[in-house]
Each structure stands twice: as C-alpha cells, then as structure tokens.
Symmetry: C2
Subunit: 362 residues, 2 copies
C-alpha cells in the first residue's frame, strides 16, 4: 500500500485513518445495499439514517439544545459570508463584526453589500496577531447580531472563550476549529463550519441556528440561501452532498467513540499544540510565533525562522521526514503547522523533534 | 466482496465501476503523494491537474469553443435556478421559460423573484407528456434569455434537439442528460448540470458560459453567486468540492477512453432506451408510457402497469433480480427506469426481460 505522510495542510486537512479505511472498504457497495455511497439516492432509508446519525452525533458532542436546528448546506464558508447578513440583518439595524484576521475581514466586506455592517474591533494595526480584550468591545445593543471568527487559520489566533458581545445574537464562523472543544451553546445564535478542517471533506457546511432566528428569513431570498427553508425541509431542499455528509457521520462517530468526546479532544489538542509552542518558546528567538502567546491557536501554529534560506532548508528536511504542506499563507509567510483534530500526536512529535534538530544544526 | 445491484435511481445515480475501483484503490493515499483525495489541499499541483484535465475532457467531449468558460460550483441545480436570473436578467427585460415539466416550472417560479420571467410554453394541460413543436414557441426577441430543461427527470421527456428560440442567449438546465449526446455548443449561451446523474457524485455543478454573458454579473451579487468571479478565479473562489471534481475527472476520462466520445455514448444510450420502449410498445397496452413517443427521454423511461397491485408485484420481482430504485416520482407514479450513461446494457436487458416475463405471468 502507498505510504501515508503527515499532512499539515490548513484545509482540506487530514482525516482519521479509521474513517478513510471504512469509506474505502465500502466504496464499491455499502453492506447489504449493493450501491456505493457515491451513487446512492438521497431519498432512501440509508441516507435518512446517515443524516439522523450525523445530527445526533453533533448534538451529543456539542450538547446542542433542542431549540437549535442543525442544517447541512453546500457552498463553503464564503457562501455563509452572504447568507448570514441576507438572513439575519434587520431593516434599520447594523451588524457588529469582530475583525481578528483575514476571514472575519472578508466576512465584514461581504456583509456590507446587504446593509450596514461595521467593525466593532479590528486588529489590523498589529497584523492580526491578537484578540480583543473585554474592554475593546463596545457593541451597539440595538444591532442585528454580533459576528466573530473563532479561529483565524491564516494568522493563527483563536478564541478559546467567546467574545463579550452582550445580549446580541452571537454568530460564529467556526470553520477551522469546529469540534475542537466543547462549546457553551447558549451563548450562540448561529454557528457554522465548512467541513474540510475538523469534520469531513470539502463540500458540506454545517449551520447550527437558534430557531427564533429563522423568523428573519424572508421569501424574497434565493431558495438555496434561506435558512428557514433548509430547516423546514430538514436539509433536503435539493440533493445534498451525500458522500460528504456520510464522511462527516464517520468523523463524528470517531470523535464520540474513539476519542471519547470534546473534553478529551480539547485536552488532546492542547497537548499537541504545546509540543510545538514549547519548542518555539525555548528556541531563544530562533523560531518566532506570529500570534501573541495568550491568543495562540490550537489548530494552526504559525511561526517564522530567522531567514528565507533557513526556512527553505527546514521545509526540505521536513518533507524528507514525511512532514508535508507546512508553508505558511502568502500574506503572513513563514511556517504554518495545521494540527486539526485528526492530526496524530506522532506527527506533531516528529515535527517538534525536527524543529529542535534543525535549530541545533543551523 | 459485497455484490453490486443495478441502480435505476434518478440521481444520485450509478457510476462506472471502473471509476469506483480507481477511487477505492487510492482512497487512503494518492500515488506518490501519501494523502487521500478526501483530504488534499485544493492549492496544490495535483488538484491543479485535476481541474485542468476535467475541463480539458469536457472541452474535448462537447467540442466547447474557446469563447466559453467552464466553471465548477456547489449548490446543485436549484442554486442555478437563482443564479441564472440574478446574473443574466437585464433591467427592463423579461426572460422566456419553456416549461416542459417539474424542474423547468420550479426554475421559472424562482426566476420571478428577481425580475420578469414568463412561460413561453407550458405543457401542464397534458401533464407534461410532450415538448413544444416549432410553432408553439413565440419568444420575445427583446428578452434577456430563453431557458429550457433538456431532460425532465420526473416526466421522462427530453429535447434531443434544441428548441427554436431565435437569437436570444439560450440557457439550458442539462442536469439529467449532460454528456448523453454531442451538443451544438454555438446554440447555447449557458448550459449547466449538477453532477449526480451523468458526470459524478452529488456536490458539484458544472456551468459552461459564453464569455460575453459574464459582463452581466454585477458586484452587488453575493460573491458565491457571481459567474464572473468564478471565471476570474478559475473556480477557486473558495475551497471547491475537491473529491467530487476528482470523480468527475475520472468519469469524463472514462467517457473519452472507454466509451470513445459522445457520438458513441449517444448510440449506446439509444440502444439501451429502445430495449425498454420496445417492450412497452409491444405490450398491447399492458405497459403504458407517460411521455408521447416522439418526446421520450433516453435517460428516464417512465411507464405504468395496469394497476397498483401488479406494480407492487413487478417491483418486488425486480428487486429479487437485482434491479433496484425503480419506483416513479410521486407526482407521476408508476415506474421510472433511469438509465444514465453509466447504466450497463446488461442491467437494461435484465429489466426488459423481466418486463416481458412479468407480463406473460400476469
């Protein structure tokens, strides 16, 4: 069999081997059905069960209260950048955006097409290396909603606690850290995530929405952009991405049964991230992290080497050790080690070892 | 290995076995890369090649002229029901819809949200059993575009020649017969298709658009609904459904190399459809087709048995012979045998044999 490498890509990202093995085993024919999950009808009992289990797994993992709907959509997070304001912005009211990196900035710019949206906070002056402190956020209590991005993949800053935005419905783009930790769901109005980091392959987006907010969706919206219609049709407004949802079912099953839930996943993620941040902090400035220490991401560890030549040599050596897709985003540069839920601790350990070895030899 | 059945589902639909076998072989790790197609970055040379080959295969199969763009989107055909009018409807101009079944009716209703759209033709009076004749179409030459659905999956009527709509840009929903035959591309302004019938799994939609029409897309549109932006970013506006496009690459490769192109595919499809229609026509009224003979679909063969009891017995016997997913849509009833490109002739032959045997025994 082809040897697998450690895939540090920011997304699409590594999936649990057990999930891939099950998908592979059944790819020509699902047991007892004789058709592949790539070609089975979405109007059949098998897929009803896939949808049911995926939702049930998410509800159990995140302790989602009964007054929230769980929806499965296409279009990725960038479609949500439009759908959130198109559905939730109210006549004569603004939306408040907490801008902590590239993705929240892009979401704000998109929202401006559909009404009044403004940055309650913007960390641009420090190149998005930090999160707001409690005093930084002065939200208008009469706004339609407050919006934040829980993890900024490019800059590597992450909210491990929700921003203080008062009583406004809180909307969260959790695309790159969904399911990395338990969430206080009662703090949220809407939380969404594309699958291709922690929950599955590219092509499906989960939206969890408090049901009172569904009343804001009007009939004037394009059908496929109306949260209320998705809720009414239980995500079967048209043919959903069957195979991607099936993989999400397997990933959430793995989180429940193999990992043991989100408390354990969080502990595991903290341990993995610490292995890399500890090397950075002990390197005497050889490795420099992009994010402020208090705001560091557990998912995307961003750092730099002293110069481009060393960085090239570092990446070359990493690849020869089976550690791939480590270059940082062009807007920040340096290295980005994306260590999502499914990245095994062995891969992180190998990377930490290589960082230490490389510094010694440099 | 689990035995495969013949899958007559209207979509998601059966895929070529060769495609599934290759996807299965490489599901844990692509050769030489060490990561699965379910988890590989969309910003890597491998995926650049997947996009390139998929587009090149489509261009070769359909002889797509250079002044057309080939785009890959999410959201299915129902998102196109909105995107077509949102991008192409012009101020003060109407759109002309040829309504030949459930899907074109739904597309017309959606278009009305965004401007003036009207039915140039509507076959409702005869329960959508036929297509317009040349004299039926009186389009307003000053309209924004003319729209039709080349194959109505539910009713089983199909255009094997384009409707005569004068010089208007012709927009076609080819979701359920895309790639079943060669097309005179110079007749089209825009043609789109979700993948889950003839070109791949659910989760990706192909849009082929004449480049002069891209000028109608304005900056006010939601980013993910703007054809011009997809064209500008070569379908990488955000993370595309990597795995679904990879499967589409394999399907289009199969069409080229194993089938030998669309002329051969069409001949093959005609032969398959004739096997079933011949049994219907020779049954002396035991089997009655829904569509008028001249307008019958090569993709979805819709027919009825004398009564519900016989229909139940027929379906039960079919399943015991490995012929699955044959019940018709609730709005038409009866049987629907969907025999898309990838349905092997052996499956169709078995079904034809069972139809003859069942009538004898009835």
């Amino acid at each position: 069999m082809e040897k697998r490498v450690y895939n540090f890509s920011p997304g699409p990202a590594t999936l649990p081997l057990k999930v891939l093995e099950e998908a592979q085993r059944d790819l020509l024919a699902l047991p007892g059905l004789g058709v592949s999950a790539l070609e089975i009808s979405h109007r059949c009992p098998w897929f009803d069960k896939v949808l049911e289990e995926t939702e049930a797994n998410l509800r159990e993992l995140l302790k989602i209260p009964a007054n929230f709907k769980v929806l499965f959509l296409q279009g990725g997070s960038r479609l949500q950048f439009s759908m959130v304001p198109m559905n939730l912005l109210q006549e004569g009211k603004a939306a408040e955006y907490v801008v902590t990196g590239s993705w929240s900035k892009m979401a704000l710019d998109e929202a401006k097409k559909f009404g009044t949206a403004k940055a309650t906070y913007d960390a641009k002056a420090t190149n998005y290396d930090r999160l707001p402190t409690a005093g930084d956020l002065k939200v208008d209590e009469g706004a339609s909603y407050a919006y934040f991005t829980s993890n900024e993949t490019i800059q590597g800053v992450q909210f491990l606690d929700e921003p203080k935005t008062g009583s406004l419905p809180l909307v969260c783009d959790a695309s790159s850290d969904f399911l990395c930790r338990p969430l206080p769901m009662d703090r949220y109005g809407l939380i969404y995530s594309c699958a291709q980091k922690n929950s599955g392959p590219a092509g499906v987006t989960t939206v969890i929405i408090r049901d009172d907010l569904l009343g804001r969706s009007t009939d004037k919206l394009p059908t496929m952009m109306n949260y209320a219609l998705y809720a009414k049709e239980k995500s079967l407004l048209n043919t959903p991405p069957v195979f991607s949802i099936y993989i999400m079912m397997l990933v959430t099953r793995w989180l429940k049964n193999d990992i043991g839930g989100l408390d354990k996943m969080l502990a595991h993620n903290k341990k993995k991230a610490a292995q890399l941040y500890d090397v950075i902090d002990a390197s005497g400035g050889f490795y420099t992290g992009h994010a402020q220490k208090a705001d560091r991401s557990l998912m995307n560890v961003t750092f730099k080497l002293p110069d481009d030549e060393k960085q090239k040599a570092f990446l070359k050596g990493a690849e020869s050790r089976g550690l791939h897709y480590l270059p940082g985003h062009r807007s920040v540069g340096g290295i980005r080690a994306s260590i999502y839920n499914a990245m095994p601790i062995e891969g992180v350990q190998l990377l930490a070892d290589w960082m230490k070895e490389f510094q010694k030899g440099a």
